[in-house]
Every structure is written in structure tokens, then in C-alpha cells.
Point group: C2
Chain length 341, copies 2
């Protein structure tokens, strides 16, 4: 027999009907222990597996989640954002533990991903990973809500968030990072990263940065902020922009580790030493952060926990249970780049 065995084949061999096979293998209590054993033995021997397409079609659920990386309006050419890549591992792992399959896709804003997945019944819900808060994106979220599609996203957490959001306490992270720099003597701290509402997560970090300075009685100097997105090159350019503008600073709080790494490269090119000339603190705690020289002090986002929460929130939503928006704590990881001992 070259054909893949079906529940009918098992049924015939076991001398029962197809429905009984289905019931036996799905653990229904209405089938006697004896016949169940017999059916299971035969199924195992034939290497039988349930056809997931037929099963999904009938049950109207796929036991599959979709993970969607949506690109920035200013996309990073090199591939998937390292931050989300770090989260991927724990999402994959959690899905596996929860016995869900995981479908992955990467799409532009322009595409119809909001229709593709749940609508075409390939997944029961969607996890959205992306940056930014732009109109076309919000419109898609609205449509997802309206369709009743199950989805969760990683992002900026606030009261008005659309749908279920898991994020981290960006304000607190920014506050702690900045306070740490202040505690170790820095007074003129630059901020590298966009600081406007189109980048809500960066903006929260920026607000934390401002607040920490105010609390310490330090005046916030707007010129010390330089725009940067989450790429190494962007961090490099931001430092150059500040220096070209004649801005003086003795420390940097970078809104992401990638930016910090680029900044360190630029500082090195200018002959400046980290942390002696310039102290620096990053954000994210990417794997790369511990491998720089000097190792980067940073704010840790707990990727492992984040992936788990995203998956679990989505599953709860699928089951029509409450799935609450939540912010994870941000934790300062002290290494060498900040000059603390």
C-alpha cells in the first residue's frame, strides 16, 4: 500500500467503523478501553496520522498560529530586525509546548496580510511583530478588529491600545538607564533614537530619559537628542550628526542596542573611549550587547517571557477567554560601557 492510510483503513483492520477510530484516537470516553487499545495499536503500526487539513476543515480550527513580521516604512535591508529575531526563539518554543504549529510570514504594509491568515483558515490567530504606529498600519488593525480576527501584538502599551498588546515598560527602562548614568556622574546625556509619537516605544524611553533628568534637577537639552531607527548604521550616523552640530555630551542613552553599537563605532572613529570619555547605555539586551568591547550596559527586555506571553495571550483570545494587555518589567543590566564598577 503506497497510499497514506486513512481512518477508514484503520477501521477496516480493527473491524470497527471510521467514526469509532476518530473517537478512539481523540480520546473520547464513549469508546471502550479495549477497542481503543486495538485501534491505537493498528494506527501506530501503520504510521497513521490524522490529516490536518481534513481535521481542520471539519473542526473549523487549525491549531496553528501565524507570526507576522511587518516591515517598517523604512525597512532594514539586511533582513529581520534582530530584536524580533531574538523573540522568535521563545515564540517557537512556546508554541511547541502548547502544541500549536507556527506559520511565519514577512509582509509589507501594502499587502493583504490582514486577510490572508485567519480568513483563509490557515491559522486561528496572528502574532504581530513590527515597529511604528503609522496610519496604514492602524487602518489594518482596525480591520482586523472588525473582522473579529484573533491577534496580539508586541508594542507600545497604553490605555488606548487597539486590541491585546504585550510590551515592556519603556518609560521605566528609559528612566532607569538615564538615572544610572546620572548616578555615575554624567550630566550631559545624549539620547539617540526618534522621539515622537510615530515611534511610541522610543518615545516612552525618551520620556523616561527626560523625567530622570528632571528628577535629578538636570535641565533637558533638546539638542542632545538625535534621530535614529533600529540599525547599527543609524546609530553611527546619529553620533556623527551630534558631533557635526557641535553638541557636547558626556554620556549616551541609546534607544536600542543596535543604535548603541553603531554609536560606539562612531565614537571609536573619533578617538573617544567608552566609558572613560563617553559612558553609554543601550536598550533591549540583544545577544550582541554582551559581545561588544566594552560589553554594553543595557536595559533588558525579557524575550523569553515576552514570547511566552504573546503566545499565551493569543491562545486565550482564541478560546474566548480574557487576554489582557500587559507590560513586562525592564531591568538594568550593568556591564562595562557605563563606567560603573
Amino acid at each position: 500500500m503506497s497510499r497514506k492510510p486513512t481512518s477508514f483503513d484503520i477501521a477496516q483492520l480493527a473491524g470497527v467503523s471510521q467514526p469509532t477510530v476518530s473517537r478512539a484516537l481523540s480520546g473520547s470516553p464513549t469508546v471502550s478501553e479495549q477497542t481503543r487499545k486495538r485501534i491505537e495499536a493498528i494506527a501506530q503500526q501503520l504510521n497513521y496520522t490524522v490529516d490536518k487539513n481534513a481535521s481542520s476543515l471539519r473542526k473549523r480550527e487549525t491549531n496553528t498560529l501565524a507570526l507576522l513580521f511587518y516591515e517598517d516604512p523604512t525597512p532594514d535591508q539586511t533582513g529581520i530586525n534582530p530584536f524580533f529575531l531574538s523573540m522568535l526563539g521563545s515564540v517557537v518554543r512556546t508554541c511547541s509546548l502548547r502544541r500549536y504549529d507556527l506559520l511565519i510570514s514577512m509582509q509589507h504594509m501594502a499587502s493583504n496580510w490582514h486577510v490572508e491568515f485567519e480568513e483563509s483558515r490557515k491559522a486561528d490567530g496572528i502574532i504581530l511583530l513590527g515597529h511604528g504606529d503609522f496610519e496604514p498600519y492602524r487602518a489594518k488593525l482596525d480591520q482586523l478588529m472588525e473582522q473579529g480576527t484573533h491577534f496580539v501584538r508586541w508594542g507600545h502599551v497604553n490605555e488606548r491600545s487597539l486590541g491585546t498588546v504585550i510590551g515592556c515598560d519603556n518609560f521605566r527602562g528609559g528612566y532607569d538607564a538615564t538615572q544610572h548614568l546620572i548616578a555615575h556622574g554624567s550630566r550631559r546625556i545624549a539620547f539617540l533614537g526618534h522621539a515622537n509619537e510615530h515611534y511610541p516605544e522610543f518615545f516612552d524611553r525618551y520620556r523616561g530619559y527626560c523625567e530622570a533628568q528632571r528628577s535629578a534637577g538636570i535641565k533637558v537639552v533638546h539638542a542632545r537628542q538625535a534621530d535614529a531607527i533600529i540599525t547599527e548604521q543609524s546609530g553611527h550616523d546619529a553620533v556623527n550628526a551630534l558631533m557635526a552640530g557641535g553638541v557636547k555630551f558626556d554620556a549616551i542613552f541609546a534607544a536600542s542596542d543596535m543604535i548603541a553599537i553603531g554609536a560606539m563605532r562612531a565614537l571609536s572613529e573619533h578617538g573617544l573611549d567608552v566609558p572613560n570619555d563617553i559612558a553609554i547605555v543601550g536598550f533591549d539586551d540583544l545577544p550582541a550587547a554582551s559581545m561588544t568591547r566594552p560589553p554594553l550596559t543595557t536595559i533588558q527586555q525579557d524575550f523569553s517571557k515576552a514570547g511566552e506571553m504573546l503566545v499565551d495571550a493569543l491562545i486565550r483570545q482564541i478560546r474566548n477567554e480574557d487576554a489582557n494587555t500587559a507590560a513586562l518589567p525592564a531591568r538594568l543590566i550593568v556591564r562595562k560601557s557605563c563606567g560603573a564598577h
Copy 2:
């Protein structure tokens, strides 16, 4: 209407039969241009999408590929191997271009992944990403072959390879890296990485390392090889092991960038300067390689091309076309860690 629209709904509205809708939307030439337009308009208006489960069930193909990370017998605790993570981006992208969906999973050797995917008809084929060449793994590959499952894997390319394999020219990479170090004056070059047939890719790099020395009339000293797997810690430990053993060396060829990065950390702890005291060359060209201080000279594996080739080879196999095993070229990327100008 709250229900998801079906082809019957479209048919009714268009005044045709369901099969006509199916044919119209799949571009069959047997339906007139006029009715096709009408059907398409209605479908669009209702936000109709084909139910992929029903479609797959009927067509007996899913238009989905599965990507499987299988873990090492000595798994990296921190998540997915950064090397494979780098490949993921291009696999995702290529799948998207080829209009295939991508299912991702991460499994232990012990699980039944070899049955799960194609057998349960969730995917048409499997891409395997993992390291090593151990018995339980080979047994699974045998079984996949026997089942007639479509699969390709990234790995060690040789004549006896089981199934379709895409890999890189590890021997040549090892040769070039070592030759480069020799050309810049190194004579006592250490090799960090396992050097036995259980790690066939590392072993090829090691053989290239040996051959380059022989070609240059340098005697290969076995004591200069230290075992290491693909983790930063492992590279760190390997250097310490060499130094604890009193082995002298003026350069390092690391079998992977992660190992090289760990080695640089260890060297730094011993007060040794890279490249002045010890020159070092890595392998892979991970994103992290360009961010170290000094930036790491390494052998580049073209991830982008690799992912593309894996996907395309698998698709060819699914279509019963020839899918040949192939090795990608390895290219030396000169940065600072080798001391070349």
C-alpha cells in the same frame, strides 16, 4: 451575514454554479471572460478567500513548506543557533516570493518530527537546519527517504550525502582562512572547533586548515586544536584550555564566529591584543562579526543565497524535478582581527 463566505455564496450571487466560481478564480480558461469578471468583482466585494484547508484537502497539496530546527545533542540553551537564525530571514523571504507559506518548528532528536509534517499533510516538504551527524539523526533521514518525504537540508556536502543537501565549501573556506593568516606572518596557528567526523562541516574546515599549512611547508601540530561547539562560551573555554596546556600560538582560526568572539574575550582577559599579539579569523560572517572590536576577519557564507537555494531545491523536489546537492563558495572577508591592512 456573519459566516465566512464560501464559493457557493459567490456562485449564488453571480448566478452560476460553485464549480464555475472555483474555475474562474483559479484562472481556468474554460470560463468566459465576462463571467470571470463578474465573479471576481463579487468575490472581492465579499472579501472572499479560498479556504486553504478545503483546497489542500482536495488538491492534496498544501503550498506550505516546513522549516525544522533540530537541536544538537549538546543544545545551546539560549535558543536558536545564531547561524541558522541568520538563514531564516532569507528562507522566509524566498518562500514569500515563491508564494509558499512557511511553517516553523524546533524539535529534539527524540520527537517524531519526521512523521509530523508531510505525513499529516500540513506541508509539502521540509527544510532541515541543524548540526551534527549522529546516529539517531541519520536514522531519521533514512526514514524520511523511505517515506518519500520531500526534504532538503543545510549541511556537509559530499558524494555520499543522503538526499539533497545545500552547504558551503568548508574545506576551501578553511584553506583560505589559514592561508591568509600564513600570508600575514603567522606560523603557529591554533584551530578552535571539533575536528572529527561527527561534526562534518567543522571537520572539513579543519582539513582545509591542515592542507593550507602543508602547502606552505608548515608542520601541523595537533596540540594546537581545541574542541569547541558553536557557542561563545565554548570559544572562550577553548582558548583557556590551550593556554592552560601551555600551547603556544600566534594566530587562531576559529571554526565559527561565535567561537572566535568567545576566544577574543578570553584573549582579552589574558591581556593579549588582537591582532598584534594574536591574529584571528572566524567563519560564517554572522552579523555580530562586523560589530566586534576589532571587527572580525572571517569566511562569509552567503545566507541570502543559501536560503534561496534551500527553498528552490525543495520546491523542485516537490515538483519532481531534479534538485541537486550543491556547495556555495566561501569568501574571505578581511577586517581588522587578522592584522592585514
